[in-house]
Symmetry: C2
DNA sequence: CGCCATCATGAAAGTGATATCCATTGACAT
DNA sequence: ATGTCAATGGATATCACTTTCATGATGGCG
């Protein structure tokens, strides 16, 4: 899975005539081996300890590149930071966001998707994408 | 309806020991008699022509106040601006957002809400609120 | 190899929207 | 009418990006 994404990214890069660099390799590794909803800041800080020579701008640009390459997706959960999540081919999911600890869980629900399609249709609307987020307290924070 | 909200806001203000001012009255009137999804900027510009003496900061603070008072709600639709929509008591709705013209339609769907509750329950999650937005092309822009 | 046209990098500066500061003004209980 | 404390608005600060620019790498070509 990590391998598949690395390959996909490498292909995207060569198609666009972009270069492979140490920084990009490091950032990709770190991104793939981390939590699914990192912000630029978080990833930057995570890298900073082992690779103090990687700049914020590079992390920023590289994450954008991941998004363009289709291996990451930009998401907003209302905390003022853009987060990047891993994209797995053909898979779609929505989110449960804990308002206390910030923890994000994912879920999938076919029935909801179907109902969304019906709503769109009844409004003559053509859906490109959607977002569904449930905010509240996660199981741990309820106690 | 406008009357009810004015009253609700007045009550909120006096409970908090806050003062009634010309500016707040004007901003509330303008907010209530406008489109349901205004940004600060939009409301500020709308007011500017008739009331050039009202500052941006006042519009900003007053909208926040509306949100605290429960007569408005802050929303993000991904265009980089916070929008304020009217809150009608006990009513909840979701949104269809046109990615071409920016038009926002509202809809309600009980069945979807019910399924959301089930999802939350199965994760031990306690829902406080949710957001559901369908992005795509509105009926007009499809042509 | 060595060249060199390009692309990439990182520090710093720029942006745009939101948030706060502060000197002045206004509201309202007494 | 007056004192007190909140409100106002212009200006400034903040925050999270986003872009600039001088310097450093990359990799195709001879």
């Amino acid at each position: 899975m990590k391998r598949a994404k690395k390959k996909a990214f490498a292909e995207f890069m060569s198609q666009r005539g972009l270069k492979s660099t140490k920084q990009r390799d490091i950032i990709l590794d770190s991104f793939l081996s981390s939590d699914r909803h990192l912000s630029i800041e978080e990833l930057y800080l995570k890298l900073r300890s082992k690779h103090p020579n990687i700049g914020y701008a590079t992390v920023y640009r590289t994450l954008k590149l991941f998004a363009e390459a289709g291996i990451a997706r930009e998401m907003q959960f209302g905390d003022g930071q853009t987060r990047y999540e891993h994209v797995s081919e053909g898979e779609h999911h929505d989110h449960l966001v804990c308002t206390r600890c910030g923890h994000i869980e994912e879920f999938e629900n076919e029935a909801i998707e179907k109902l969304q399609d019906e709503v769109a249709e009844s409004h003559g609307f053509l859906i490109e994408r959607h977002r569904l987020e449930l905010y509240g307290l996660c199981a741990t924070c309820r106690k």
